[in-house]
């Protein structure tokens, strides 16, 4: 066991030394996340064609007047074409859906609003999704317009609509973008780095040198995986620091949960990289396969723009991509300080996915190197 760990560390150190010595690779590791952040930070589109945005309507007032008010709002919202409404009587359930990005706003008709209306006024609370300012602004405008059209049972002037978010202050594009780019940068190393290092060693012939050493094959696999995890973590830290220092991104989440989600993501994608490596023997093929896996994943995972902007069929694909869950959980934690219970499905799902991927990848890889 102890020798297995020391061999693992030895191989990780060797891989990192190699990585450090080849300057273009080192420069790429540092420059790529910087370019990505600057590029998307300044060029992220300010508008998007979205419709059928899911929102939750919480109806706590069961009085006839309160029910009528809520029904009228739901009718107008559904008719707008922009919003899809789910009604509930639980604020906490609706907030959890907001954190998980299942809904983008919550409209709350509090207990007693019917009575307040009888007295000539009432307050409706609207909690907005703060992950994407573009979407926020479109949803807010639509809700304001709906309330301005209300004629019964309350006139627009009788209703006071209060907008707020889950976290204090206002958020910008980078609150949405930064967690996505951090998660994306972290996993790219795990996914492509491992495939590249194995295929490079195969081409050079040096993989045979490792395979002929009297050490466990698992030490080779995990040593190389560990080197990729370190690379992914370094890249993530660079993006994180730039986000906070240059783009004023506020971090509200629990650091341990953020690290947990990111670590799971890196591990899952290192496993995927290992699985893919079992099928390729040269660097060029590895690069092409990784490009084919990475490219759609980057754009379909919700890392760079809301999934709502995608047509439904592309959104279906995004739901089977593991990166989608890394991004949504990491974003919910970093920006919205989601409690563990809110991101637990993603955390457990990724853990199961990682175990399954490694259970497939390790024997397949072993078979691939000892045919």
């Amino acid at each position: 066991m102890a020798s297995g760990i020391s061999h693992t560390l030895l191989i990780a150190k060797k891989d990192l030394t190699e990585f450090y010595r080849v300057k273009p690779r080192l420069v790429t590791m540092i420059v790529f996340p910087i370019v990505l952040m600057l590029l998307f930070g300044y060029m992220f589109p300010s508008s998007g064609a979205v419709n059928h945005v899911p929102i939750a309507v919480v109806v706590q007032d069961q009085s006839p007047q309160g029910m009528q008010l809520a029904d009228r709002f739901v009718y107008l919202a559904q008719s707008s074409g922009l919003l899809d409404v789910t009604t509930t009587d639980s604020v906490s359930w609706a907030q959890q859906q907001l954190v998980l990005n299942n809904v983008y706003a919550i409209v709350i008709f509090h207990q007693g609003i019917g009575t307040q209306l009888s007295s000539g006024g009432g307050t409706v609370e609207v909690i907005l999704d703060q992950l994407n300012p573009t979407l926020d602004s479109a949803v807010k405008g639509e809700i304001e317009q709906i309330f301005s059209q209300m004629d019964a049972p309350a006139s627009p002037s009788a209703l006071n609509v209060v907008f707020q978010g889950l976290i204090p202050g206002t958020t910008g594009s980078f609150e949405f973008l930064a967690p996505g780019v951090i998660a994306m940068t972290a996993i790219i190393g795990g996914l492509s780095g491992l495939a590249m290092t194995f295929s490079r060693e195969r081409e050079l012939g040096t993989l045979d040198g490792l395979l002929m050493a009297p050490i466990s094959r698992l030490s080779i696999i995990f040593g190389k995986g560990l080197a990729q995890i370190v690379r992914g973590a370094v890249s993530s830290v660079i993006v994180f620091v730039i986000s906070v220092l240059l783009f004023d991104v506020k971090v509200y989440g629990n650091p341990l949960l953020m690290i947990l989600v990111l670590f799971e993501g890196i591990l899952a994608f290192t496993g995927m990289g290992m699985l893919a490596t079992s099928f390729v023997s040269d660097q060029e093929s590895a690069q092409l396969i990784m490009l084919m896996i990475q490219f759609p994943m980057i754009f379909l995972s919700g890392a760079l723009f809301p999934l709502l902007q995608l047509p439904w069929w592309l959104r279906m694909i995004s739901y089977i991509l593991p990166l989608t869950y890394v991004v949504s959980a990491f974003r919910a934690e970093m920006v919205l300080n989601a409690p563990f219970s809110a991101i637990a499905p993603e955390v457990y799902g990724l853990a199961i996915f990682t175990v399954v991927v490694f259970a497939l990848a390790v024997p397949m890889f072993q078979r691939a190197v000892t045919k």
Binding site: T17, E18, R21, L204, T206, L210, M212, A213, P214
Partner: protein, 257 residues
């Protein structure tokens, strides 16, 4: 008589293609054993099974008393392998390469420095110990590649075309060094396409073609048996003079494999 390598009907098939077909040979301890054959004869596949890199499809191989399938790590500790491709990391220095493999083979840290210095001085590379191997000439790389395989004091050294693409001075050095290894009591298996080299180095020879061993025995006996003056004559009598224009291998994304 004890043998460093004993194989019985060793066979390897890839998707129905039999690369090595029922090979049975014995390599005497402390001898230099030449393994000859045209391209595609199955030499490399045979050696990869001996080195535990490939699992035999059938038959068995005992290396230094250990079964290659059941005790691969014991076999790995007993052998030092010099492949045609360098088993060296170009961005690591000469010293780092040797230390890496020393540690992988369990050389004690207390002996590491002394061992590295001894081997680098032996191949006249101590002065270049801090230089990345990628900056070395072909001859320097191959010298380092050979001593890399000796870091853990193996009992059997396998050299796959060790003089390929080297200048005459380096070729001379490698051949003399192989003889020194024998003088130290090590067993050496060497493959080569250079018949003069095979004749100069080998005490026993095996000639393979199309996966089979065509002949095996002491060099002098083989020459007498085939009434030949040289190993090259024996080789050509057994394998023929026709050119082997066969398609082999696969085309990778980079072109050559």
């Amino acid at each position: 008589m004890s043998y460093a390598v004993e194989t019985e009907n060793l066979t390897k098939a890839f998707n129905g293609f039999i690369a090595v077909n029922g090979v049975s040979i014995r390599v005497r301890r402390g001898s230099i054993f030449g393994l000859l054959g045209p391209n595609g004869a199955g030499k490399s596949t045979f050696l990869r099974m001996i080195c535990t890199l490939l699992r035999p499809t059938a038959g068995r191989a005992i290396v230094e008393g250990h079964d290659v399938v059941r005790e691969p790590n014991e076999v790995r500790k007993a052998i030092g392998v010099v492949q045609e491709k360098l088993l060296l990391y170009p961005v690591l220095t000469a010293q780092e390469n040797l230390e890496l493999f020393g540690r992988l083979y369990g050389v004690p840290e207390s002996e590491m420095r002394h061992k590295v210095r001894e081997l680098l001085e032996e191949v006249k590379l101590w002065g270049f110990r801090d230089k990345p191997v990628g900056t070395f000439s072909s001859g320097m790389r191959q010298r380092l590649n050979i001593v890399r395989a000796l870091m853990h004091d193996p009992r059997l050294v396998i050299l796959d075309e060790p003089t390929n693409a080297l200048d005459p001075q380096s070729v001379r050095w490698v051949r003399d060094y192989v003889k020194k290894l024998k003088e130290r009591g090590l067993t050496v298996i060497v493959t080569t396409h250079d018949m003069h080299e095979a004749e100069e180095l080998s005490e026993d020879l095996a000639i393979m073609d199309r996966g089979h061993v065509l002949e095996v025995g002491p060099v002098q006996e083989l020459k007498s048996k085939y009434n030949a003056h040289t190993v090259e004559d024996v080789f050509l009598k057994l394998t023929g003079r026709e050119l082997r224009d066969e398609l082999s291998g696969r085309i990778s994304a980079k072109g050559w494999r």
